[in-house]
Symmetry: C2
Subunit: 301 residues, 2 copies
Amino acid sequence: MKTGATSELRLDHYLEVQRARVELLLQKKLEGLADRTPARLLEAMRYSLLGGGKRLRPILCIAFAEAVCKGTAPGRVTDDAACALEYVHCYSLIHDDLPPMDDDDFRRGKATNHKVYGEAMAILAGDALLTEAFGVMLGGMEESRLHLARELAVAAGACGMVGGQALDIAEDRPSDEGYVIRVHRLKTGALIRAACRMGALSAGGTTAQLEAAGVYGDCVGLAFQIVDDILDVTADPKKVGKPTQRDQAKGRFTFPKVSGMPRSRTLANERVAMALAAISKIEPNPGPLTALARYSVERGT
Amino acid sequence: MKTGATSELRLDHYLEVQRARVELLLQKKLEGLADRTPARLLEAMRYSLLGGGKRLRPILCIAFAEAVCKGTAPGRVTDDAACALEYVHCYSLIHDDLPPMDDDDFRRGKATNHKVYGEAMAILAGDALLTEAFGVMLGGMEESRLHLARELAVAAGACGMVGGQALDIAEDRPSDEGYVIRVHRLKTGALIRAACRMGALSAGGTTAQLEAAGVYGDCVGLAFQIVDDILDVTADPKKVGKPTQRDQAKGRFTFPKVSGMPRSRTLANERVAMALAAISKIEPNPGPLTALARYSVERGT
C-alpha cells in the first residue's frame, strides 16, 4: 500500500531524529549527577539508561507536545518530561530482570544490569533512576511540573505500572482476555498513556487534548502489546496459539493464547482505529502520531 | 539531672501523641489507594508501612512546621510531607532487607517483607511506596508541594540516600572516620535532614529557618547514628571497639571501631551542640526540637 509505505518511510526518519535527540538529553541529565553520585552507582545507572532502546515513551511525549504546539520545538519542560519517562521505564526493566522477578540474563543483546553490577547494585540503580525521574521532572520552577510529576507518580505507582507488575506475578491469575488486557493496560499501558498526556500537558494542552492523548496512549499501548504477542507467534508458526517459551516458564498468557489469532488482530485494529479517531482533532493532517499508531499494527506484515 | 529528666518526660509524651497521629495519617493515605491497587500488593505495602517504627522523620517534619508556625497545628501540606517521608524510609528498609542487600529475616521483631510476601513482591512493594511517596507529596495544588517534592527527590536519590547505600555496599570502602561519616550522612542523614527542612518549608519558613533546619537535621541524624553504634557496644562490653556481628558479616565499620569510644562520644556531643545552636532562633524556649536533640545522645546513659 503506497500511502502506508510513504508514511512508514517518513516515520523511520522522524524516529531516528527524535531518538538521537533523546539520547543526548539523557546523557546530559546523567552528567548533571556525576559530581555527587558514587561512581559505581552512576555507572550502573548509565549502563542501562544509555544502553539502547526504542525511546518510545519520550518520543510520544515530544510528538504530542509538538502536535499541541503546531510544530514548535519542544521546550525544557517537555524535554524533562521525556527524560523522566525514560528513567521510569529503564528502572522498571532493571527490577523486572532481577532473579526473583523475570530472571533474565540478557536485554537488547547485552548482559542485564544485575549480571554486570550484582543484584544489590541493580536494585539501587533502579531505585535511583525512579527517584531521579522525579528529580528531573521537578527540576525547575514552572507550575506545570507539579501536574506532570503527579501524572507520572499515578501512572508509575501502585494503581499503574507497579500494580500491573504485581498482577502479572500473581499466582492465581485467571487466563481470560479481560485479565490479560487489565495486566497490560497497567504494566505497560499506563506509562505509555502518561507519556502522551504529559507531552500534551507540557505544551499547555486543553482538557480535550489531554483526554484525546490519554485515549490514544491507552489504545496504541495495547495495540503494540497485542502485535508483539502476534509477532512472537508468526516468527515461529509452530507456536500458534501457544505462549512463548519465556511466557510459558512464567505461566503468562499472551493474546493469541487467550483470544486466538483472528480476534487478537481484530482487537489491535480496533484500538488503532480508536487512537486515530481520538487524535484527528490534534493532528488534522496525518503526522507522526498517525504514522506511529498505524505502525503499531502494520509492523512485520 | 533534673532538667534532663523533666525534658525527657515531656518528650516521651510528645512523641507518643505525634506517633499516634502519624499512624492515623498513614492508615488513611493507604486506604485512599485501596480500590485501585491489586490486593496482594497493597497488603505487602501495608505490612511494612503500618508495622511499627519510631516515625522519627514524620515527627521531625511536624515539629519543625509547628516551631516555624509558633505552635499552630500542622496543615495538610505538612501532614502529606510527613507521610511521604515515612513512605520513603519504609521502602528503603524493605529493599535493604532483601537477600542481595542485608539479607535480614526479621525487623522490629516481625518477619521482613520478603519473608512473608516473597522477594518479587517485596521489590514491588518498595517500588510502589517510593512512587506513592511522590504521589502523596504532589496530591494537591499548593505551589509549595513542588519545592517539597524536589527536596524529597534530592535527599532520597543518587546523591542522597541511595548514594549512601551504594557507598555502604562498595567492596573497596576505606575504614576511616571520614568515609563512615560520609556514608551515614547520605544513607540515613540525608532523609532526616530533608524531614527537618521539609517541615519548615511546609510551614512557609524563611531561608534562614530552612538553613537552621538543615544543620539541625544533619547533626542530629549523625548523633543518632553514632549513639546507636555506641549502644551496640555498651549493651555487650565484650564488643568494645569491635563491630557488631551483623556489621562484621557485612564488613561494615562502626564509629567506635574507626574512632574509638571517647572520640565517638565527643563527636556525638559536638553535633548536638551544633544542632542546639542552629535551632536557638527557631525554638527560643526549649521545646520538642531541643528535647529531641538532647535525647539523641542521652539515651541509654
